[in-house]
Assembly symmetry: C2
Homo-oligomer: 408 residues x 2
Amino acid sequence: MRLSKITEGLIGQPMFKLLVKMQEKERTGKKLYHFEIGDSDYPAPSHVVKSVKKALDEDRTHYVDSTGICEFKEAIREHIARRLGFRPALKQILVMPSNAIIDFVVRCTADPADEIIYPDPGFSTYIAVTSYTGVKKVGVPILESHKFHIQPEEIEKRITPRTKLIILNSPSNPTGAALNRDTIMEVGLIAKKHNLYLLSDEIYSKVIYDGIKHYSSSELDHCQERTIILDGFAKGYSMPGFRLGYAIGPESVIEKMGLLFQTIFSCFPPFIQYGGISALTECPADVEERVETYGRLRDLIYEKLNAMPGISCLKPEGAVYIFPNISGTGMSSQEFVEFALDKANVVLLSGTCFGTEGEGYVRLCYTRKPEMIIEAMDRLKKALEERKNGEDFNKRHNLAGRRTSCRG
Amino acid sequence: MRLSKITEGLIGQPMFKLLVKMQEKERTGKKLYHFEIGDSDYPAPSHVVKSVKKALDEDRTHYVDSTGICEFKEAIREHIARRLGFRPALKQILVMPSNAIIDFVVRCTADPADEIIYPDPGFSTYIAVTSYTGVKKVGVPILESHKFHIQPEEIEKRITPRTKLIILNSPSNPTGAALNRDTIMEVGLIAKKHNLYLLSDEIYSKVIYDGIKHYSSSELDHCQERTIILDGFAKGYSMPGFRLGYAIGPESVIEKMGLLFQTIFSCFPPFIQYGGISALTECPADVEERVETYGRLRDLIYEKLNAMPGISCLKPEGAVYIFPNISGTGMSSQEFVEFALDKANVVLLSGTCFGTEGEGYVRLCYTRKPEMIIEAMDRLKKALEERKNGEDFNKRHNLAGRRTSCRG
């Protein structure tokens, strides 16, 4: 029987498809080095686990306010006050899985044939959502020549009367760029000028290095007019499996998103929300310590990758990814991913998973144990060197392989 | 700024709106008797809580297969084998919140302007989903004169070339009817004849009384062709706040639903899934004991309601609700709800929350402590008797009030 049209364009998140495939391979005993998924080798903070367990013991397992329990929303408000300097009304806050916020914001602000502007390369859900909502996706190229910083004028150029929403993500997935205040404010002012909603994906706001400060366009409107902040606990707090996040936005948007959430999900598990309270109130040192560790891992993988033939990469300013340019190897992104898996057992993602502008790049998530990073990168380097020596040998002896000649 | 059209029809689930309002009132110190929400005064099974806590301790807090962890899907498969006599493939199983299954099935099977047939009165999400998907809702009246059992011929009458899906729910919310095998199979055969999908909402399959057996249209196709089973842990296992459920359906439908789930939610919290394994494998006696308790509570509230002036009700065969006919009181459903709250502090839901055919009825969820049921029902009875005495007095003295005369 025919399924609906909205599902035709659905391809899923690349890392989850790979996750299943890799787990199947690993069951056969092959040791793989995983850099594909935005997970962390580090456990959730012990305070958080303790609070969730306590809430379970206290029978916090019943239905609750579908917008989030009051105590958690109050903790979020105080956290935002500390982090961004304004105190949102409780009615501006909605507790829900971070990833779902993207789907909900798009559905609540844009009708089919309306347009949303998003960074390309950018998080794959930005693109996926447009495949089943009938909303038109308009990508803004994010260029290495601009250190992967979005150019506000490139956004404004793409605004039409059908544009409803701009998606901004800093620190950025997959590039690791952290936008400066000028850029963020300029985008905020463009949204204001054209009366557009602005989804500010700040899921990596806590993971930022070298003393760089995180900025948010909510500085302009305190989320009362157009800015909808997406934040959560998967990254900074190493709590990916909790699926806990929150949106802060204009009351009218949050009310609609809340109704949609209530209709589809009833409410968010209350005992997990108590874990969120603990994360926001008990563990600031945990986060700092973790980010310091991540910074060291970034340095490590950055050095390792830049020492490989045909690879160059910028130093990420935030988030948990590095986005090396692999075009010097002569391979396409997909070819490189297959090469890394076949020759070095290293699993990573093609830059094209994040949009057409990702060609020539691959993404690695480096929140792994340092010894694993070293082992994996040494294997990858060796494989690339062997490949290069083979190519050089072929060139010297004029033995260009079929593959090379095919590519001209 | 204008929000999208899809949100215009959204009104949310009535019980959650009431939940918030009531919690606000209670903060002022008023004691209310809650019968509005399909929650239970009984805690989640201790085995389940123990398993979730163990999984948290074992760091089961990372990303996992977005369709559900393998061990849980295997436990579901064995549970279905025991319950329904067939063993679905793992690819026919998707772990996700039960309520969201309704939204996902509708979105994956029906395009805007397609039609879905659902029971009226029926669970409010059936109707809500149509408000934002552009899918046309076609209600089948569920009549007290037929003991609230759906009439298959009334379904077939409403099938058009645009019909894509039939929703069936047994035991039923809000009526408590449990459909017999003939009815279920007849609906299954109608779906087969017209090549339609069939969403079998079996969330109350375990809550069924008096030795009545639960039947499922999956008997006809083992969920390989058209039947999509919705089940979960909120009701039979008293685990509403876990938001844990699963769908079983044809591989093509489950694959699409899985991609949608992955895109929007990434995956379901793994540590909760371990609680699901425990529920399915460790606590069968817990469920039986709980259902026995619920059966006694049903008897209690049934007797109490039938002893009130102007009220009559059928004995529910399953689920956790009773759906009394209040038309003998002369009040509309909404008036009755307000009366019960004002005069007896009893919170219940208008039958119209479940569709236009719910007028003349109210819904009470009776999985409460027996002493609370007795106290609340005695208050409601007293209030109705006082009202009746007042009316009788007015009638005897020809003092019909404005309100009565307004209604003619």
